[in-house]
Symmetry: C2
Subunit: 422 residues, 2 copies
Amino acid sequence: MISTAATAATARERMLLAKDAARQIGLLSDERKRDALLAIAGAIESAAPAVVAANAEDLERGRATGLSAGLLDRLRLDEPRVAALAAAVRDVAALPDPVGRVLDERVLPSGVRLQKVSVPFGVIGSIYEARPNVTVDIAALAVRSGNAVVLRGGTAAERSNAALITAMRDALAEQGIDPEAIQTVDDFGREGARELMNARGIVDVLVPRGSAQLIETVVTESSVPVIETGAGVVHIVLDESAPLEWARDIVVNAKVQRPSVCNAVETVLVVRGAASRLVDPVVAALQDAGVTVHGDEAVAALAPGVVPATDADWQTEYMSLDLAMRVVDDLDEALAHIRRYSTHHTESIITQDDANAERFLAEVDSAVVMANASTRFTDGGEFGFGAEVGISTQKLHARGPMGLPELTSTKWLARGSGQVRS
Amino acid sequence: MISTAATAATARERMLLAKDAARQIGLLSDERKRDALLAIAGAIESAAPAVVAANAEDLERGRATGLSAGLLDRLRLDEPRVAALAAAVRDVAALPDPVGRVLDERVLPSGVRLQKVSVPFGVIGSIYEARPNVTVDIAALAVRSGNAVVLRGGTAAERSNAALITAMRDALAEQGIDPEAIQTVDDFGREGARELMNARGIVDVLVPRGSAQLIETVVTESSVPVIETGAGVVHIVLDESAPLEWARDIVVNAKVQRPSVCNAVETVLVVRGAASRLVDPVVAALQDAGVTVHGDEAVAALAPGVVPATDADWQTEYMSLDLAMRVVDDLDEALAHIRRYSTHHTESIITQDDANAERFLAEVDSAVVMANASTRFTDGGEFGFGAEVGISTQKLHARGPMGLPELTSTKWLARGSGQVRS
């Protein structure tokens, strides 16, 4: 086995090597990129014992430094989890090549032929937290879209990430592809992250993944353009005409199916005219499913066992079996609440009034706005993208679930025969 | 006449007023936005005497503080120039509405109907230098695309901008549109610019226009997402097979037609095999047109009157009748030179070798890559966009000439009938 562990002396040198490698990987055919990913999947499987051993060191250090049980579980890689990583890489290999699509075509009056085509960004940077699966995930998506990648995965998963990255780099080298296309700055600690955020001109786009605080830091400090992915303080409005069954089923699904993800609902706003009809049965169904409901006084007056909500509740992404509920006078007040507290991820209204549904869809300023559906549908897989790079909550470049095409930029090609501008 | 001069006490308050106004303007019909622009054009014409008087004060202060003749000319507004501003607004009014386009449509297996539609950004910020025409330009493009705008136009044009902005705000108010949709932070000086760059959550995107230094400052300091528009160190490569006539005509056109703009060529790279055939006549044609050619030794040996080029020449966007020329060994060396010095705006190759043309188109990493055409074609008007917001040299969101659609974001709308995720 080749050993191509990343060894350049500085973080900046590593990034320059990645930039160089980006030229080669950016021009590879669909087939060669697919073959590279299949080789990466195989290499990850072969490296499973080494990866699990490296991960054991990370876990031991994590336990010693007091990582929570939840974080330790996210960090853990056993043989089945490594196999799942390899399988995910094969899924990415099967996706269509996002590079080389002709997005616009026009012939200028002078006869110059113009084409707007999709091209790789070049170098994608990613800063994320102790989740070794993100290492493989982002690297695979980058290779599929012809990009080089520079990873900064956090100290807690350092050994696991190093083992995975070495396996992936070896696979590239065996395929005749410059292994510097998969790069890490993990071993430079915080300095590596800082260099990555300031690598304007080398790194083309930075995708932070992790806590709201991590994302805030990257957005604020980076001079490299950032795609913000996001925190979700997600709202469901129960309109006056909301059918009880839809209201109950959608709220419970949106909260309970997977409470720790960004598309789970956090706040339910009930229009006053529907409160006496809906609050009690919806709260009861949530409580039956193990949810603690934090309600305002009007909610508490209509349902037993409600914990009093404070202003902090409206701002909280619980990521747990907690939910905030408030009675609002009307749709106007619901929209004002959403304007104030939404993180612009996903909001849904449950209603049988088409005018109210269309008003909600038009006026709510979020990446995904729904009528009569669970907010859990906001997901690249559910949207049919095949893979999800993250869910963008910003308005530039990409908004909502991002698939492989969102990892490309564009370029205009102009073919002439001596034309000059008059 | 109403007077709606911007008066809120702080730059932040002004921006919050713009954010509020964005909700209204973002929902206006095509017709109402068009009417608003026609009213703005009329108001600018009516305000011409006041605008010219305000401009005279700016010019006087500019002369006193020693502004260059070129900058004074850019700053000057006489009655015909004001009429041209109004005419430009009418041109923008005639463009199709970029909002509400359905960009993607799919039905999920559960029956939820998804649509991806174009929506306004919300609030666009712009930081630019002493050119009052940009004030009207950006405001008109913002209104056409349903966005509010916050302008920071520089102290040198402060009075002119204030007069134009008041006229535009009055016109909005008369149309029943919240005038806070056109906002300025000019009277807060540098502090206004700083607040604008840090108005994350209020301002959705920032478009700097002006010198490379201005753009660099905004990109580095802003926490609001920036669309970088750009400096152009633009290259033309004369390949071994380049026909003399194409080479000469295209190089002269690309340099001479309008030397002060970003798509003008700055550096010509001549492949060695063509040097003895092309350098002398191309240099002569440039010199005939008044161009000073800065050449390396090989160029100087082949043509008379060439000024010696230094490394600084390869990095310079002259914006004048100067041009740098270098002989390179082959296409590889030309591509390496471009990688090192290009600002990723526009590059063109002159060749009759299709393989070399296609290699150049594939490998050069610039917003617009050409074969056998003048770099002056990189322009929103030439591309048929009807208006140009600027030429993006970044890879995120927009690349190359930006038209009105580039001033929109997207939103996913989901319409269901009670669906939950299984």
